[in-house]
Structures are given as C-alpha cells and as structure tokens.
Symmetry: C2
Subunit: 322 residues, 2 copies
Amino acid sequence: MHPEPAERDTVAGLGEFGVIERITSGRPQSGSTLLGPGDDAAVVAAPDGRVVASTDILVEGVHFRLDWSNPRQVGRKAIAVNLADVAAMGAAPTGLLMGLACPADTPTEVIDGLTSGMWEEAASVGVGIVGGDMVTAQQIMISVTALGDLAGRRAVTRSGARPGDVVAVCGRLGWAAAGLAVLGRGFRSPGAVVAAQRVPTPPYAAGPEAADAGASAMIDVSDGLLADLGHIAEASAVSIDVWSDRLEVHQRLVDVASALGADPLHWVLTGGEDHALAATFPAEAVLPPEWRAVGTVGTGSLITVDGRTYDGPSGWEHWRHP
Amino acid sequence: MHPEPAERDTVAGLGEFGVIERITSGRPQSGSTLLGPGDDAAVVAAPDGRVVASTDILVEGVHFRLDWSNPRQVGRKAIAVNLADVAAMGAAPTGLLMGLACPADTPTEVIDGLTSGMWEEAASVGVGIVGGDMVTAQQIMISVTALGDLAGRRAVTRSGARPGDVVAVCGRLGWAAAGLAVLGRGFRSPGAVVAAQRVPTPPYAAGPEAADAGASAMIDVSDGLLADLGHIAEASAVSIDVWSDRLEVHQRLVDVASALGADPLHWVLTGGEDHALAATFPAEAVLPPEWRAVGTVGTGSLITVDGRTYDGPSGWEHWRHP
C-alpha cells in the first residue's frame, strides 16, 4: 500500500497550470511542430496540403487497468493506438494532441508516468505532443488526436479491396490476446505476451511502405484480424479468405495456449489490441519487407478461414456479416 | 421523472457501431473534408501547408450540468469552445473530431441531442465532424479537436503584444457569468443571460479579421478578460491597462446584477465562458468592424484597470502575476 499522498503530490495540489508545465516543459518537439503547447492552439506542418487526423479515447477500467499496467505503459499505449490509425492510412505522424481527465486526488507520479510514456512513444516516431487539455473527472481518461502527412500518397482507405487482391499483414497478431488471457488468470508471465498486452508495438513505418507498394485497402488490427478484415470486406463489398497455415503462430503463443488450455490460432485470428496492419494489394504488387501474404480477396461478402466460415472457441458468428 | 428507458433506447442497446452510424449518417460535410468518418482516420484539406489544432474536453458536472442545459446546448458549447481557440489564432476552421465517453445506460435521446448540437454548431461555420471515437465511461465527457487553416496568415500567438499597442475585444463579456449567477440561485430567467451561459456565441470570423488587420497577440476569453489578458501579458512580458469606461456593460447585465445584488462590471472583467476574443494591435492599426479598443499595453507586468490593481468582489489577487 502506498501512504496517502500529501495534497501537494496530487493533481489538485499542483493546479492545472502546474500540471501542464510539468507535462510540457523541456520536452523535445519535432520540425513539424511550428507552434507547440501554451497558446490557444498548436500549429503543425502539413506539407502535403492535406492532414490525416484520428482520435481515440482510453478509459481506466475499460481500456486499461492500473493494477495490470503501470502509468508509463498506459501512456505509451494511448499514443500507439492513435499512431497506428495514422499509419493505416499510409501517412507518417506529424504531431499529437492530448486530453487528460483525472480525479483531483490523482498522485502526480501517475501523471508523470502517463505523460512520460506518451512522450516516449511520440519520440519513437519523431513527433511531439503539440497541445492538449487537462480536466477533472471521476476516472482517468486519455483522449489523443494524432495528425499525419501523406507526402503526396493517396490515402489508403478500407474500401479499395478488389477481387483477386492479395491479403497481407505486418506486425504481431495474437500476442496481446495471449497476454490478456495470462493477466486475466492472475499471472504476470511469460513477460513477452504480458508486455504485448500492456504496450502494443505497431509497425508504423509499414503503413507508408504499403501505400507506396500500391496497397488497395488497409486497416490497423484493433478488434482482431477477422473482425478488421470484415471491416475492409464490408467497405469494399468483397469477400476475404484467410489461409491459416500462412499466419505466424509464434512458439511463445503455442506454449502459453498449451499452459492455459487455449487455442493459439484463435488468438491470432480474433485477438485485438496488437495493432498490426492488415492490407490488400493487387496480385502483381511486390509486398514490402515485413509484409506477408495470408489470404485472398474474392467476390461475395463472407470472411472465411481456409474456405470455411470460422467458428472457433468463442464463436465467429458475431462478426460474420451478411 | 422519466420512465426507465428500455435497453434498446440506450447506448448499450444500440452498440458502438449503431451509435456511430446514428451520429454520422446523412450529415453534411464540407469541401475541406476529403475523407470523412468510417475509416482509420479522416483526411482534411490543409491548403496553407500548416494546420491549426486545438483540443478541449468538457466533463459532465464540471463543465456542464444536464439539469441546467439540454444535451443539444451542451453539444453546441463543446464545439464552440474549440472553434473559438482556432479563431483566436487567426484561422478559419476546416474540420472537427469528436470523442464521446458516456455510461452504457445513457439514453439515446441524450446522444442524439448532444450530437445534433455539435453538428449544428459545426454547420454554423461550414465544417463537418470528420471522425471520432465512442467509449464507455462513468460520466459523460466530450473531447473535441478542431482543425483550422491560416490561409497564408501569420499565426497570432499570445506573445506578440508590445508596449504602445492597443487592447481590443470583440464579442460579449460577462453574459455567461451573469447566467451562471442566475442558474446558481435556482432561476431560469432572464433567458438572454441563461442562454449565454448554456451556449456561447464566439465571434469566429473576427479572429481572421483581426489577424488581417495586424493583431500582434490574441486569445479567446475563457477564464475571464483580466485573467486572459494576464496570459497575453505574461507571454509577451508586458503590462496591460484596461479602461473600464470603454467596456460594454449591457443594460441586461445591469438589471440582473441589480436583482442579485452583484456588480455587473465585475462579471465583464472576470467572467469566463463567453469566448469573446481579446487582442492587441499596433497603435496605427485600423481595428476591424466589431472590435472596440478597451485598453493599452505598457512596460512592466501588471494587469490594471484604470491604472489600478483590480480588487473586485471576489478578489483579483489570484490572477495577478509577478
């Protein structure tokens, strides 16, 4: 148990301006930050003449638990899920805005951890947190808006998949789901899958690379591979068949599944939160490095695995669309 | 009392995708929305090559009360406070992103009201809600990010005021504070000041006009005129003197103050939430229509009213900076 924090060690003790000073002072901005925190709004470079923008909210108890993750890990995840959305359009990030809601008695060490994690993840792609807002609320909530630049590329939407296209993925699948299964049973190891649940590692650079290689549709895998391919299939009015033998089922997932009596392929097919990228490419396209073909696009509207509707352990019915 | 809503009439009954469909379908987008809701991210025009971006969060019970305002009014306010930030940089809005957190048992009529208000305010400046996120939380929280375009203008920051500049304001001051005083005592009239508290009416177009007229610094009045001029003074390392006889103290404010035993000038000097614009201009500048000169910039660091430190009813000490 922590001792009850003194008032000066809480958000209320520091005050709004104190917290904002603590979050922003001395942090590195990038060249695309033309005007950073401290004014009515930020100004970010948009050299392409278009700006890609995405917002995601993470809520304590819904999207993260501070007994499963430390604040720094939560901060990294809040930024990562937004950067993955920008990557999935084929864009590179240019700046981030942060909204932070928390109870007045939140210890400053929690705020320090959250924001350190956010800055770390932002720095990993060379951008800064250019602005934000800080408010009082009953539970911790982090709202992030990521901005990105397409550098002349066509935005890769969900609706461009065509029959005959190849389906490919880049990044890890099933790891966060394995980590969640481990944490849910009260374990803290193996560390690799637990770490994957706490902080996703999306392959950010693979998004623009896929766009340059001619990707016809792209999405980041937040709901699970089959569910997210379902979003592409629906937006593109196509069917998608996934070849299970092409999916990487890492030995660690096999080991964890064996210990828990679970099916590792099910995690790979349906586990969300890894924020891998899934895309479709014309058959003649040369896949960029790190991308691997795992299926094909056809006519119709079904999502199938090896030609059949998937009905794994927890049921695929929910996600099958008409 | 409302009857307990049936499950299908709540957010939980509709489901995330149902709510998002309800919020976005059939709504008008503007020419600057190159890709609207429904993909991993939106794409918004940034013709200037820079994008202005600002995030604000409104929390139920902190920034609004659903027994004082209806959901539509809250939705309008959530958008207005963000658009005012964009205007205060000298930019015109190009698009909005919305994050909406609410309990699962929130009636759909509340969501419909909130989002209708948001779309109305967005439409009033000709832009759309281009994307967003929808999550479950213990209380209603609205996070908005506004994007804007400078159209070649220099961004007007808080730090450009110089001794000799004129201080000017555009928009209403003190009305929202008067409305708050009325609501706080359990009244619902006079309607004009209560309406001002529920939905601010910032003079959006006056921001770019001030920039074109050469404004040296600008801010939107969210904390109160003296407090926000204090932000300009601090960022610009100047002093500011406000001439109280130049401030408009509308007869309605005089009447309300008289009824409540309050000082209407105090509301004008310290009341926030009207989101008027305050700016400084070089002495030789011609103020745009609607702007009125209300003070001067000097050396030093004090904020004064008629040459003296202001010590109105609730005390000005808190805002005086060294």
